[in-house]
Symmetry: D2
Subunit: 335 residues, 4 copies
């Protein structure tokens, strides 16, 4: 039984990690940390009543290492890189759900996050935790950078095509619609029910921090510099990301051929479902699936992808990475 | 043209007061106060762009009195009674949307609100602003206590029956369901979209502050002490209150007779619609209507009433009171 | 491996049964019937893509019996009792998710459903499938009447108290709020998104068919005739039932004592969580839990209970019954 | 007082036309037709109780002409062109809310709607009722083709830029998100609450019938052939369209210059608000406003526009057209 510590246990991703892990036959949550809370985990997350019998604590790294083998780090960026080096030194394996170890270049990190990276030597050496691309490299690793929710959706939709060199790498437009849970559990006017309900809005146009992440991975996959226009929207729903992606083709491709490219790319990948119908976020709600399809309209490629931002976009893929790191079946606790 | 000051202009009720007033041919918003904001009102309330061309200011009472004739006080309770005496002294008429002047007895106020009332002589002399009950007394007054949203729904549903003496005054159960906008614009975890969506919950069971207000008015109407069980619920919707009210009858009444009691009581009242079908909150969304019907089940009375908590439950009835205070047609700006 | 037939596979409860069963290590869906559909199950239920690889068929009873050991009957009432006798004769065990075998008395059935019961001898001999009350009697049975969603919520909330004889059996009021999925997948104006969104409504006041079911089981539990006022509401959410239940006490009971009654009654029951906080439907979304708490207000009992109408209210409890019928662990596939 | 007939009064656009008209001091609804309903209008549309006191009838054209001066035709396409010629012959002015008179070319109509146009001589002579473009031509006309909801949003966003010749007319991508009310009141599985809630989806990619309408008007405005990629999405909300529009620029334009182009184009237009912030559909809910802003990202133009699909996208603009046709103030009943 692998003992798991959840670092920063009050937010929504931590909740989902714990909810999924209680189904895992080879894992057990033993430590849940918080700087603000001290009672039972279920006092903050009532849905975990009778499922997670741990209380929030504020332990030292050594105390964590005594009681856990693997840490899911659910801290905000910056706080995450302040904690992770010592967790690794103490012998823990770490899945980092923050953005701190996703980018390879400290200068890019500083530009988009507004502060210096304090653990730069690990950048570039940390595996980006998208198992459909990097599965083999994740096995046995000590630190995995769990991808962003918009990022996973965008990359899973585009990788099959950019890796083939059939899309113009400067033409990509990602119009993404997310549920509100992605904005987290910290109270803000903008995420109040009365603000979001019956409202669709766009935000962070041209400036969302998932942009360099998408570009880095797609550039790696394609071998060319990829620049995207990424427009995130807030949709009046709890969960789900819907990405509608437009790209110019470098050569004529039929819809059937485009579908075949998707099918081949994801053959044997249990959590990507290439579908011929138009997917809906509800089809993947509360699952670790990403459903993808493709259309050709007036000679241009339109890829449509959906996932649950809390599961395949955060906690689910974290468990998938955990399974690979620990040598478990990739799908354990996720079907 | 009556010049209107909105005191405390950043919240949802203030927004609705301004939205409705811009349709009013005899009123003009000239002052909107805020302690936290300084820019144009539309910078906080973008829906008012091009409709309200005033900026937030933090004026003295004298400055308000120079520029306005009537004040809609949208402050929280306590802050309201700190401001209203001087507004009245400066010659303004005031519609108070807080709870500070609704209760007649300072001791009851202190018990439910947890602090001493600092303007106790006005309690008992202030007219409770429910025009369907107190219309004649509202005309020409200087200070009106605008009722609570749950209160209006409950009283409008019950007054016809308790005034007739046909319900057991100790048997009343009010099971009320409210949209989330009633909880206001201050960010809290409990009113985040991701918490409220797909969730029904109850709160403040046996302790909600609208309880003494309902009991006071119904006791006045019936001439007997009325005690209610009031259970508020939060429903996953923006606007609307649905009250399902149960009471024992003191004598046998048919459904037809009960309907007739409602119809007679509200004859000539433009904003209460007695309907034979079961009403829905959506039927009254964005209107100043309260729709009511009644059923008899196994000898007991079930009254169902709906209104828009932001309009008939707050800003709309405030305009209705304003119309009566100023001698305008009761329905101006409200149909 | 138990082979399962889903009879009537196009609706929402069938979808949930199949979704849950694919997690069951000892069960396999082999037959899914439909009179209207013929393609893959996933063509109607895209969320089951890659999870359920069966196509809709329209087999004879014998063909079903050749390919399956247990049938989950997801037909509407009437259609259900037309099919079940032959399924039983052919040797299948049956969990009936319709209302056809829930009531003991054919006359009561005829009164509430408007047609004669065509298999009356089984009424009264069929076990009502509420495992928390009837767990021992469910084991090994061939036919289980799976309870209604409102019914389960109401009975689980009230059984601990009526069985103790501490509530007045004629005073019970059940004010229940349900998500819209409970209304099924047949298109009707009343359940369109544009009708239900931002709308709370009541329906079937005094005439909902779950009323006699609640009364029958509570009368059995209490040994006295129980009559309830049951008011169902439609809430703008997909899933969840919230029941707020009011009853007069026959003797003075403290809140602590009432909580203790709940805790004792449900000790060792894995799917009822007695909680001290006020529960929300979201706490139990996508789970087989029913969360219950109790309050005493002005001497009266208020019990609050929530469950997911699709899981603990339908498909989840059906699996729980299936587990008991087949001798599996009660919680298999449900945690 | 202008007497108004609503032809086809059971749907949502008819409801909104009637709701808005009851605020109009110079108009009165005298006839509401239906082939299926016969009772009071409020029996189908309970929100109109006490506001619209007319019953559904099924009159001849002559009977309509005796009792009304102007007809709002809310029939589906095809049914609309079957009725309108005789309404015009009988001397009525007509605002047609269907698609039947929007396209200029009968061949294009036949291609997209799948049947021959039976009144082709009026195509090309009917004014397209977008008052911000065609206001002067609408005045005094007898027949106006009221635009589609997606169409208005898209054209209002793009016209200022294509008319200047600064966008590449083959590069335009319109990613539009609509509330579900746009799908109408006819029951379908796809628009059930339980299907749409918590779900974002795309539909009719490359084949939506508003495509030729957008292209026709933008081609007229620009003097060049415009071809767009138009991707409609269904968002889990009742009302509102959010259009995110991408286009390549033919020359370098700053964001400030792009904003200035918008401001100049809509100077003096009361229902288009050019805003500097990112608009939300909620900002325009229940109003006749279209809020628009623009961004330049990586050299490309992104225009964002929102409106209420039921008001500015259908019934509101119909009243705006009616006002212009009849010589009333353009904003009457709409602010």
């Amino acid at each position: 039984m692998v003992r798991v510590a959840v670092i920063g246990g009050t937010g929504y991703t931590a909740l989902e990690v714990m909810r999924l892990l209680q189904r895992h036959p080879q894992a057990e949550v033993t430590v849940v940390t918080s700087r603000s809370e001290t009672g039972p985990v279920a006092s903050v997350h009532p849905s975990l009543t009778s499922l997670v019998d741990v209380s929030f604590t504020s332990p030292t790294t050594d105390e964590i290492a005594e009681n856990a083998d693997v840490a899911f780090c659910c801290l905000p960026h910056k706080a995450s890189m302040d904690s992770i080096p010592s967790l690794l030194s103490a012998g823990l394996k770490v899945v980092d759900l923050s953005a701190d170890y996703r980018l390879n270049d400290p200068a890019v990190y500083e530009k988009w996050y507004g502060h210096v990276h304090t653990d730069p030597t690990r950048l570039g050496n940390t595996v980006y935790g998208l198992p459909e691309l990097n599965g083999d490299r994740i096995k046995g690793r000590d630190l995995i950078a769990n991808p962003g929710c918009y990022t996973s959706t965008s990359i899973l939709a585009l990788a099959p095509f950019v890796s083939r060199g059939i899309v113009n790498c400067e033409s990509i437009i990602i119009d993404a619609k997310s549920g509100v849970s992605g904005a987290g559990r910290t109270p803000k006017v903008a995420t109040l029910y009365a603000e979001c309900n019956e409202s669709m809005s766009a935000y962070a146009i041209g400036s969302h921090r998932h942009t360099p992440e998408i570009e880095q991975v797609l550039s790696d996959v394609s071998g060319r510099k990829v620049e995207v226009i990424f427009t995130p929207h807030l949709a009046p729903m709890d969960r789900g990301i819907f990405a509608t992606i437009y790209a110019d083709l470098t050569k004529k491709v039929t819809e059937a051929a485009a579908m075949e490219i998707l099918r081949k790319f994801y053959a044997g990948k249990p959590f990507v479902r290439v579908v011929s119908h138009l997917p809906k976020t509800k089809d993947v709600a509360y699952t670790n699936f990403c459903d993808i399809t493709v259309r050709i309209v007036r000679g241009r490629l339109i890829v449509l992808a959906v996932l649950d931002n809390m599961i395949k976009g955060a906690a689910g893929v974290a468990i998938q990475n955990f399974n690979l790191m620990c040598g478990f079946n990739e799908t354990t606790a996720l079907l």
